[in-house]
């Protein structure tokens, strides 16, 4: 299972990447593999605030609906609308085109709670 070196992770299999505009997040290769065929993403709402650990959005595989949790608290400023028509991108490119949204963090201090690639790998 691929764990991208440059990203930070949650124990619930989300990843984040710090960029100028905010915190980009998605689900890990392990998560997409466990979910298998993803057929629908109920995307988060732009402008909504989320608390770290609360449900960010829902991903549906053929078999079941699964909650994806917010890796960090903040406001959702951008959403990957392309996932609406191509949810399978989460399977094929979880760390790239399969990004879910960008969060403007309300407390950057929370970043220190996230796992490094090495720490996340150790948990798999």
């Amino acid at each position: 299972m691929k764990v991208a070196h440059e990203l930070l992770y949650t124990p619930t299999h989300e990843w984040i990447k710090q960029e100028d505009e905010g915190i980009v997040c998605g689900i890990t290769d392990h998560a997409q593999s466990e979910l298998s065929d993803i057929v629908f993403v109920e995307l988060p709402e732009r402008g909504k605030t989320v608390a770290k650990g609360a449900t960010l959005c829902v991903v549906e595989s053929v078999k079941a609906a699964s909650d994806i949790y917010a890796p960090i608290s903040g406001t959702i400023i951008k959403v990957n609308d392309a996932l609406s028509s191509a949810p399978e991108t989460l399977n094929s490119d979880p760390y790239g085109e399969g990004w879910i949204c960008v969060i403007e963090p309300s407390d950057k201090g929370e970043l220190k709670d996230l796992l490094s690639a090495e720490q996340y790998k150790a948990k798999l």
Binding site: S36, D37, V39, F40, V58, V62, K63, A64
Partner: protein
């Protein structure tokens, strides 16, 4: 996410468990059983059955033998279908109904020869059915034996299943008519080959003693290689049967659902010569007509409908979903739903409550998919 199996409490047949894990299957729990959810992906396996062929380990299904000179009379008493309409060597679908006309189980009946029959029953109902049959047996020469633990079953389904089964059993499987079954020698023992299944495709269900399990599974895999055969998990088994509009006990069928509500009226033979359990209630139910009916739902707004989601029309609750999923061959998010038949009809637009939002769906007839024959 999928339910992870909890090993110590789960039953595993000869074919299941480690055998599938070694084949790389993702395992899940299904009732009391640990079963393969998928080996590759559900969508890939689903398409493989529709386009080529697949094999399923369905050894969890129950088998109950009914024998003796009163076996036929006993079956006429417990089954809603009329055994006199079928010859030996032709399997048929039937229900076991309770006195209220609700469904105890749906079963496949195999009339082997005079005084010799067996029923294939749902895994989750094996003990219930066995107890039900024993409790209603007032015949002196009708014997009921639950042989589920020593019998196994593999389904081989899909357009190429004829060639594959023919090769393994050195016969011409193509000529076995729909729902006919034959007994074939195999490995010093024998297997029952039935032209039946649960996918909406041409296919076979093969029944045998547990010992033959690995040999037959491997022989089918090998013979099927050139036709693109793959092992298929329970995930695709479910999407295939929903697409084909096949009801599943515990979802579309329960003790409190009438056969007339769920497109099963055709196996209730009220006119048959002998009385049978539930007949009085079923006669009344038929006269009354149905209040609710099983429909198809196809999502208009994109989202995935699942079991137990509620359905609304003009803000009024009109029923709920019994099974739903993304359906790969028709490429739709769709469901079967038990809806109020006085308020809803095919062609209507309704709304499905998914989490906190309502999504538009079209009411349709079933099935969603029909194989080209």
């Amino acid at each position: 996410m999928l339910t992870e199996p909890c090993e110590e409490t789960l039953k595993i047949t000869l074919l299941m468990g480690d055998f599938h894990k070694h084949a790389g299957a993702k395992m899940i729990t299904f009732g009391d059983w640990e079963v393969p959810a998928y080996y590759t992906t559900i969508i890939e396996e689903h398409r493989c059955v529709r386009e080529k062929a697949g094999i399923f380990d369905v050894s969890h299904m129950g088998e109950i033998v009914i024998s003796g000179s009163d076996a036929r009379a006993f079956l006429q008493y417990v089954l809603t279908n009329d055994i006199d309409n079928y010859d030996y060597g032709t399997a048929f679908y039937s229900l076991l109904c309770n006195e209220r006309g609700g469904i105890v189980d749906d079963v496949f009946v195999y009339p082997v020869t005079e005084g010799q029959y067996f029923l294939i029953v749902n895994a989750s109902n094996i003990e219930k059915d066995h107890a039900w049959l024993c409790a209603h047996n007032a015949f002196s020469d009708a014997h009921i034996e639950n042989v589920s633990e020593r019998r196994a079953m593999i389904a081989c389904q899909g357009p190429r299943s004829n060639e594959i089964v023919s090769r393994v059993f050195e016969c011409d499987a193509q000529v076995i008519g729909f729902h006919k079954f034959i007994e074939m020698p195999y490995g010093g023992d024998k297997a029952v080959i039935s032209a039946s299944g649960y996918t909406g495709e041409r296919g076979f269900e093969i029944m045998f003693d547990n010992d033959l399990g690995h040999t037959i599974w491997n022989a089918l895999l090998k013979a099927g290689e050139q036709y693109g055969l793959q092992p298929i998990g329970f995930g695709a088994r479910d999407t295939l049967r929903i697409e084909a509009g096949c009801p599943l006990y515990g979802h579309e069928l329960t003790d409190d659902i009438s056969p007339f509500e769920v497109r099963c009226g055709w196996v209730v033979k009220l006119e048959k010569a002998r009385d049978f359990i539930g007949k009085d209630s079923l006669v009344k139910a038929k006269d009354r007509g149905v209040q609710r009916k099983l429909f198809g739902l196809e999502m208009i707004e994109r989202s995935v409908p699942r079991e137990n989601y509620e359905v609304f029309k003009n803000d009024e609750r009109v029923g709920q979903i019994t099974s739903g999923s993304y359906l790969p061959s028709v490429d739709k998010n769709a469901a079967m739903a038990l809806l109020n038949a006085t308020q809803v009809t095919s062609g209507d637009t309704v709304e499905v409550l998914i989490r906190s939002r309502r999504y538009k769906a079209l009411v349709t007839n079933l099935p969603f998919y029909k194989a080209q024959r």
